[in-house]
Amino acid sequence: MADSETPLLDELEEGPWPSFVKEMKRAAEKNEAAKDLLRQLERSYVDKVGHWKHGGIVGVKGYGGGVIGRYSDLPEEFPAVAEFHTMRVNMPSGWFYNTKKLRELCDVWDKHGSGLTNMHGATGDIILLGTSTDHLQPCFDDLAEIGFDLGGSGSDMRTPSCCVGPGRCEWACIDTLELLYDLTMTYQDQLHRPMFPYKSKMKISGCPNDCVAAVPRSDIAIVGTWRDKIRIDPVEVANYANDGLDIVQEVVMLCPTRCMTWDGKTKTLTIEDAECNRCMHCINLMPKALRPGVERGATILVGGKAPIVHGALLSWVIVPFMKIEPPYTELKELLDKIWEWWDENGKMRERLGELINRLGMRNFLKAVGLPAVPQMVKAPRANPYYFWDPEEVK
């Protein structure tokens, strides 16, 4: 170890959690860029600052996004990462793979890039981490060959993502995987060619557990839900109780609407369904006994984002319930109207949620043709500063 070029990073090979340093070293065995990346990172560990230059615009033919340009600020010392661009590759719905496809991907990346990847990026893409400018187009062409297209970057629709949904989850109230694929294909142009005021993210979760973090992490969140009653299998409820689940403490008392009652003697659970807000908690605890209803669809929420510029936002309900069935016409018409309004009114680097805040939810709803309903708010306004259409004042 004493002679190691990367003594600090070497320490991170220890410990039970799998080590990214080991991965870098593995790649470095075959690839100069990976080796210089490791060395530059060690330098950052010493200097306590990053060593990448600001930005840099690179890309592939016909696309405006999908590649993040990156240049070392120490190119003399680490020449193999002088250019070290990332390609964002659109993953399949639900991150399902067969090993054949994955191996093909590895082959392409070993041919053109550093051999390092993120499986996956925080938005959901396959991140191919580090290649040079002249490899971008050939790499893209080879990816196309094996059926992998690029994802989004810049001021475009970003690669949307979804939870595993009907692929493996009994609670999926909508077909997250198919919807994701359909929307991705419908909006290829928006995905590949930055044309919006800023990025626009979409995420699809099959139920309010929101396993893909749609509400906090996307401008447009589609979250499955149902309108009718929770389906109860009374025998299985009793089984859970017999198996030691404390139905009162763990279920009834944690139900946010307190709409459940438990009869300990008869081991009967009753749900006052009209008061249930479908939070999933009871279902989560007793998947064998309770199930979402059968009249299914989705709640649409918009505006979620990270802090830049005016503070982080969680998405807000704008459609309490929408049926989600192919060809998804109602949904797509709404998406089109939303983007159109944003595109027309948004300032540069103004996300949808910030624009709604600037121009007012009321104006947004009017523009996209949605009625005001109480489900949109936690509470009505507390300030008396509201507007009237002169037409109304007669």
């Binding site: 991170l12 799998p18 560990y45 993953m91 399902f96 590895c106 009994e170 998947p287 802090p307």
Partner: protein, 353 residues
């Protein structure tokens, strides 16, 4: 050859194992058999076992191939990744479940991350690949997860616990709704390079980018001036303009946020909130940060009720009690003074001593 474009991602149905093809949308229930192992049962009676393993996320193609080998051996070549970057081996043959787990454990793959555990921290690029980081990403995550390993591979916690990391205020790790968030921060205003500003930046856009209006044009230099009193080091100006770097070995470091959540189970999603405004960048193992995270999680684990997420627990006991229980000093930076600040102030004499 004309470049083919806009053909989209591989169709997911081609990737699904036969048991999913057959039972697509027809799952009935699931059970958590033990940490890292789920079984989903279809209406048809078919069963699908899932074995989840932690991944360092930053992986080599060799690692992917290795994982593929395992999937070939135990899962007829089928696997998936999760929304938090774990690998899930999809097993349709019950006989292969235990051998798979044994194989994985033997080869150093952490089996776990399901149920009341800490799962893989969503995180970001850090010094590996980004131009705006205030700290590293993969390094801290590795150091933290080494400490929290037992909580990944076992069920020792009262509820779900999501740890996330972002290396700057852009928050690519979407840490803003995490039980525990580690966030890189700068603490010094940008150092302006006027030549670069003049050459490369669109002055009005840079001015507009500043959330606090700290930047104004400087007619004298034909560049910009930053009112340092108003700058809270968000780095947004640097995103817009390479002439305004903020990175600094002394200024940069890490902040800790707690109590966020994403799911709507029981309670609606919540933002994470600042509890430690600064810890130093101390590579390679960030001992202050790992200790702080561990302390917070163990304090919660000790005091929370079953199924009570970090934020739900704190809402029950009150933030003032959180600080005493966790032994964390309350710093002035924790008091909000941004646009929605008044909503965070306490308007009642009812609080705990």
């Amino acid at each position: 050859m004309a470049t083919r474009t806009d053909f989209g991602p591989p169709y997911f149905r081609d990737m699904l194992p036969p048991v999913i093809q057959k039972n697509y949308g027809q799952w009935k229930y699931h059970e958590r058999i033990k940490p890292g192992l789920l079984v989903h049962v279809a209406e048809s009676g078919d069963r699908l076992w899932t074995v989840r393993v932690g991944s360092p996320r930053l992986v080599s193609t060799d690692w992917i191939r290795e994982v593929c080998d395992i999937a070939d051996q135990f899962c007829d070549g089928h696997l998936r990744f999760t929304s938090r970057h774990n690998v899930e081996f999809l097993v349709s043959d019950e006989a292969k479940v235990e051998p798979l787990i044994a194989y994985l454990q033997e080869h150093g793959y952490p089996v776990g991350g399901t149920g009341h555990a800490i799962t893989n921290p969503v995180h970001t690029q850090g010094w590996i690949h980004c131009h705006t980081p205030a700290t590293d990403a993969s390094g801290i995550v590795k150091a933290v997860m080494d400490e929290l390993y037992e909580y990944f591979v076992d069920w020792k916690l009262p509820a779900y616990c999501r740890v996330s990391l972002a290396c700057c205020l852009n928050m690519c790790g979407a840490v803003h709704c995490s039980d525990v968030a580690i966030l890189g921060i700068h603490r010094k205003p940008p150092v302006i390079n006027h030549d670069v500003v003049r050459a490369k930046c669109e002055i009005p856009n840079v001015i507009a980018a500043c959330p606090t209006g700290a930047i104004r044009p400087d007619p004298k230099t034909k560049s910009l001036i930053v009112n340092e009193e108003k700058c809270m080091y968000c780095g947004n100006c640097y995103t817009m303009c390479p002439g305004m770097p903020l990175a600094d070995p002394v200024g940069d470091g890490v902040s800790i946020w707690v109590g966020g959540k994403v799911s709507s189970a029981r309670t609606p999603p919540k933002f994470s909130r600042l509890v430690i405004p600064y810890l130093p960048n101390n590579p390679p193992r960030w001992p202050e940060t790992t200790a702080a995270v561990k302390n917070i999680i163990e304090t919660w684990a000790k005091h929370a009720r079953k199924h009570e997420r970090m934020g739900e627990w704190i809402d029950r006991i009150g933030w003032e009690r959180f600080f005493t229980l966790a032994g964390i000093e309350f710093k002035p930076q924790l008091i909000d003074d941004f646009t929605l600040a008044p909503e965070t102030y306490r308007s009642t004499p009812t609080f705990k001593w």
